[in-house]
């Protein structure tokens, strides 16, 4: 009872304190990133109201027309309006990112909690398996899984999710291990709390705060991975608007000097990914006080696939000191 009251009072404060302590730069980074991401979410939701062509409309649209008032981003070789493709592509990208991240959290988080709290050979085995998967090139892993599952929104999401499961597992597990030894967990144990209560009530809420950070970094990475899958022909079924697939078609237009089919979908990817990266980086700076304490300042070691390895390595180093 006492421990619970204590936690309820402390928790919001604990979550907000880093934000208040963070410098103006870190906060700006978060706001810019969140702003860009919000714009894309808006586009994804309201695409039909923003532009009157749909992503798969081709009737009455000329072939390979350069950008003009009627088609601001030009048209493709199969009579699609590039602006419409870009707008509806945002919809698909966010859908897949949301799904894939949900899948990887749903698997990585419980496994991380289990391995971290349980310890022993179960932990070692899981770490071994996850490390092996993590060591393998993420894109190749996604390609293999996608090749096996076939094209489709859910399939592509699963293929991408497989890549990030080890990262959630790793971060959660390491975090659990450090939280496990905290006094309040000891206290709960001494009061005779069940293992399930300890894990879900005391450890879970402390560990779960690192999820948004990995989430936004992985989401950025997932956009690129989805585009890469689409580019190689393992994304979603055509004619669903998907940026990577559009780029794989645009590559044949390049030789004749057609630039608009390639430029705009790519720019959309770059801007959205940059936004999400900024959001993740900023959050990471704010939430991860360990990195601030050693004086690394407003920059984390690396992002994306390396980020978790880098951040995790940084943490252990600090803990060892």
């Amino acid at each position: 009872m006492i421990a619970r009251k204590h936690r309820l009072r402390l928790l919001p404060e604990r979550w907000l304190r880093p934000w208040r302590e963070a410098g103006r730069f870190a906060r700006t980074v978060v706001w810019v990133g969140a702003g860009i991401t919000a714009i894309f979410v808006f586009i994804a939701i309201f695409a039909p109201f923003i532009w009157h062509y749909s992503g798969t409309a081709y009737q009455g649209i000329p072939k390979l027309a350069p950008p003009s008032g009627k088609h601001p981003f030009g048209t493709t070789s199969i009579n699609f309006d590039v602006l419409a493709r870009v707008l509806y592509g945002a919809r698909l990208a966010l859908e897949v990112v949301g799904l894939s991240v949900t899948f990887s959290v749903a698997i990585g988080l419980p496994l991380g909690l289990y391995a971290g709290y349980r310890g022993g050979w179960q932990d070692r085995t899981l770490v071994m398996v996850m490390d092996s998967l993590y060591a393998f090139p993420g894109l190749l892993l996604a390609i293999v899984v996608a090749a096996f599952l076939g094209r489709g929104v859910v399939n592509a999401s699963v293929a991408i999710a497989v890549v990030y499961i080890p990262q959630y597992f790793r971060v959660i597990r390491n975090h659990v291990i450090s939280v496990r030894e905290e006094v309040f967990v000891d206290a709960a144990r001494a009061l005779g709390a069940k293992r399930r209560t300890i894990v879900w009530r005391y450890i879970f809420f402390n560990v779960v705060q690192s999820i948004p950070v990995i989430f936004s970094l992985n989401a950025a990475d997932a956009i690129i991975t989805l585009a890469a899958l689409g580019f190689l022909g393992y994304g979603v079924n055509p004619p669903t608007p998907e940026w990577g697939q559009d780029l794989s078609r645009a590559i044949h237009d390049l030789a004749s000097g057609v630039w608009w089919t390639a430029l705009f979908p790519g720019l959309a990817i770059v801007i959205l990914t940059t936004g999400m990266t900024l959001l993740g980086e900023g959050l990471n700076d704010i939430v991860n006080p360990l990195l601030r304490r050693v004086g690394i300042g407003t920059q984390t070691p690396a992002i994306g696939t390396v980020a978790q390895g880098g951040a995790a390595a940084g943490e252990t180093q600090v803990l060892e000191q």
Partner: protein, 340 residues
């Protein structure tokens, strides 16, 4: 972490032993995904194209009619002998193909790594040295934006600019027709140097430039952030302070004291990036029609040649594990604190 200060030999041995289960897990994963998957590879590759009797024959020849556990054992056994299996479609040995195509991928990845290190270390250390100045901001922005760019899109933009518009570099292929140097290692740059064939060297370089720069820039973007952080840390450390206090000129402090130490972690990350480099190589090769293993993998995928895919993926897996082993050993050699 219990035993500190073990000998290098022991560490290396332990590290090699740890590699075995890692390889085994990866091989099992690849096998499970590609072989146990519903729909068998022969059906996928030939489908309606062959009569059932013919399909059964092909299946038997490739040993795909045996129980899965036997196939798994055979697969692992073949790997021990360095046999990467056979393509279903062409009936060609994947091992032969790897020997033929891997040099192209190796040449691309090594050159890209060089570009990445030059870009990453250059921009990263400048960024770290001139912290919070416009140089720093530019360097960090470069790191973030280049990381956000899909590698194939970056390559396409380069093609558009340098091949289509400016006609400086060719947009694809490995070298000009009939310009290949005499085959020694399969690495065209090295072969042309060994045979003093400078025109071949020049041609290879022209074709290599865009793919290598594309791949190198993306990997370099990650290095920039890392080098910057380590430069910052090193510049704040006591011995750099001590060097400054002794009156050593600032450039010398930066170059001799800080720079070299900031580079140690770069070895590790360069190794970690190797996996990303391979993934990136697949995309780069596809974009620039570079005839390497990545293009071959995509071809196998397109023809649904799963044994072929399995062979190449397995090779990549072993390569990645081997490189990470190598990096760890180098690190342990350079930095004795690592040998736990």
């Amino acid at each position: 972490m219990a035993k500190r200060g073990g000998s290098l030999g022991r560490y290396v041995l332990l590290r090699i032993l740890l590699t075995v289960p890692m390889v085994l897990i990866l091989l099992t994963f690849v096998f499970v995904i590609l072989r146990v998957a519903p729909g068998d590879p022969i059906e996928a590759a030939y489908g309606q194209k062959l009569p059932p009797a013919e399909i059964a024959k092909v299946r038997h020849n490739l040993g795909l009619d045996r129980p899965l556990i036997v196939q798994y054992g055979a697969y692992l056994g073949d790997m021990v002998h360095g046999d990467f299996g056979k393509s279903v479609v062409t009936q060609q040995s994947v091992g032969t193909l790897i020997r033929a195509d891997f040099p192209a991928t190796l040449e691309l990845t090594l050159t890209a790594m060089l570009v990445a290190i030059v870009v990453g270390v250059g921009i990263g250390s400048l960024s770290g040295r001139f912290r919070d100045t416009p140089i720093d901001l530019g360097g960090r922005l470069f790191g973030i934006v280049i990381y956000a760019a899909p590698i194939f899109w970056l390559g396409m933009m380069f093609q558009l600019l340098f091949s289509v518009k400016l006609h400086i570099f060719p947009s694809g292929g490995r070298t000009a027709a009939f310009a290949q140097p005499h085959h020694i290692t399969g690495l065209y740059l090295l072969d042309s140097v060994l045979t003093w064939n400078w025109s071949a060297f020049w041609q290879t370089l022209r074709y290599l430039a865009l793919p290598a720069i594309t791949l190198g820039l993306v990997i370099g973007g990650v290095l920039v952030r890392l080098v910057r952080v380590h430069m910052l840390q090193t510049l704040q450390s006591d011995y750099v302070e001590a060097a400054r206090a002794r009156g050593i000129p600032e450039w010398r402090v930066v170059m001799r004291h800080a720079f070299r130490n900031a580079l140690i972690p770069v070895i590790t990350v360069t190794g970690l990036q190797f996996a990303a480099l391979l993934g990136g190589a697949v995309l780069t090769e596809t974009t620039f029609t570079w005839p390497g293993l990545g293009s071959q993998l995509v071809q196998y995928l397109d023809s649904r040649d799963y044994p072929g895919v399995q062979g190449i993926i397995t090779f990549f897996a072993i390569l990645v594990v081997f490189v990470s082993l190598l990096i760890d050993v180098i690190n342990a050699y350079v930095d004795p604190r690592i040998r736990y």
